[in-house]
Amino acid sequence: MSRRFWPVLALGLFATAAPVRAQMPEEESVQERMTRLWSHIDSLAPLVEEAKAARDARNARVEDVRRIVAAESAAVDTLAIGLLTVITPVGQVEVARDIFSEVWTEHFADIDRSPAASDARFVFQWSDELHPIYVEPGRYRAGIEQSETVDRDKIVQMVRDAISTVLYYDLTNPYTVDGVPQPRSLPMWTGNNPLADRDWADTYRSAALTRSIAARDCLAGDAAACASAMGLDVEIAEGDPGVWLAPVFGPERGLPRVGADRIATWYSPAERRERVRALGATAWKIDDRQWESCLQDADQAMCDSVLRLAGGLAIPFDGEVRSSLVAYALERGGYGAWSRLTLDPTHTPTEALEYASGVAVDDLVDGWMERVLEARPVSYGSLVPHGALTLLWIAFFGALAARSTRWRLG
């Protein structure tokens, strides 16, 4: 290649780039850019409307197809069971009625009103041949559609899960103030569905394994400690908990906003250090100095600060335990407790629990504590029958040994 090639190429590139550089505007701040883009946002409105119309037209066509296919596929019947509306093929009306009635009577008979359940449609099929079943748009479709190889107990469990999931929407649906959706404080506090299938022995286990002095005092019979570990009176920052979301939304989402005195009643100094250790040295917003100050110098104020900054602060009892208090309140409240619990979305958790159960929250927590302590699981409870069974098997193996053909005598 010619020795003059490279200088010529460099000169050419510079000459090409120079006008481009000259055309670039002065560096624009983020705020200015946002303002400029915001001023043009109206230009997007027609495009958005056009996209919405196209989407609606497509959805309408899909609905038409679904309705036609379903109408040609199988004849269905609609049943009203409790507050539920069940759609099922004509041939399965009896089995659907049996299962839904059994589940409703056994677990949900105290529920007198549920907008979510009234609005939903439960599609039930338990057959080797599953048909498309149409549910009008805008309604929640809860499908229990399984082949005949699934046994009845599992189907009953699925029906129960489907109903409790639908009912939970009564609690979680946001309400609006001046057209703006507002989150409800009760579901933010409970975290779990209180109507879900509950094993109180598991609740005891969760409580016993909670890393908190308040939880341990609770299990020792201190009802005030139970109330404290429940964090009923604690304000919770809006959003889903999850430290992994911290870099995007901030660490406090879904976590309690509490002062140092409350933290001290929840966690011992050693437990706070353990929580910080569990966060890891690379946790969001923690620097080495804070980390060392908490863990090595045992600076409690620094530990508390780190816990708040990095999202390591949580109400001691988890959602499993907290939702068990709601379940207990519903049990105490009896018929109509669910509608009282969900009626006023502005209620705080304490107000909602008192209104639903009909008793003061202190009495409620007292009763809950007794209920949990009674439910302490019996470890090795099945050892005696299992032991007897093992001895039977040993006798069987012994008999096999005695029948060996190695010996021809005896």
Partner: protein
């Protein structure tokens, strides 16, 4: 008769029983070491969750140890007979049933030694930890389960070892065949019978064996020394 067979079995297995007893005694102590007072904290009741979860990671060692010791006891029970072509046993004025029963009981008696070792070790381990409210130790229950597991494995392999090689080969071939056919044949069967699309034969057999009233249910229950 029983005493003679016990003595004979003891002579066969005594050297193997020494490490078995040490392991049985030491395992509970090993598992709880460092628990109950983490980081030298005076508040010994700090980490209930940690105690239970850390212990759970090693609970399989108890049934594994029981199975191992049971196997050693069972195989050693018939070793002498096989070695001398059953001449001694055939020369005795007893029926096969009496001989097997006495031999079985002798093995059970020897199985009590490692079980006692575990019982003692579990008690010492229980006394050595300070647990938070809500947790308890279960040394007696653990020792009883351990004993049952020992007995079961001993009984099973005792039956195997008492038979001929042909019987052992047939049974083992059956097990291997079940594994192979249960894995490969299931998809084939699913093509003809919808039932097999949702039901895996091998899994179903395994479940039947390890869940009550199956023979191995004692191995799959709770083996926790410390629990709620």
């Amino acid at each position: 008769m029983y005493k003679a067979l016990l003595f004979l079995h003891w002579k066969q297995v005594r050297f193997a029983l020494v490490p078995a007893v040490i392991a049985s005694f030491g395992l509970p102590l090993l598992l709880v070491s460092g628990m109950g007072s983490p980081n030298g904290s005076p508040t010994a009741s700090l980490q209930a969750y940690q105690i239970v979860s850390e212990l759970n990671d090693f609970l399989y060692l108890f049934p594994a140890l029981a199975a191992g010791i049971g196997a050693v006891l069972a195989l050693s029970a018939w070793n002498w007979d096989h070695q001398f072509n059953h001449v001694y046993a055939l020369s005795l004025p007893v029926t096969r049933f009496e001989y097997v029963l006495n031999k079985l009981l002798a093995g059970f008696t020897l199985a009590l030694i490692p079980a006692a070792g575990l019982w003692l070790g579990a008690h010492v381990a229980s006394l050595s930890v300070s647990l938070p409210v809500g947790l308890r130790t279960y040394p007696n229950q653990l020792a009883v389960r351990y004993l049952f597991a020992l007995f079961l494995m001993y009984g099973l392999l005792f039956a195997f070892a008492s038979g001929t090689k042909a019987t052992t080969v047939k049974v083992l071939s059956g097990v291997v065949g079940l594994v192979v056919l249960g894995t490969l044949g299931n998809e084939l069967l699913a093509g003809f019978f919808p039932y097999f699309a949702d039901t895996h034969v091998l899994e179903a057999v395994m479940r039947t064996l390890v869940e009550a009233p199956g023979p191995f249910q004692v191995f799959t229950g709770n083996w926790a020394l410390i629990d709620v």
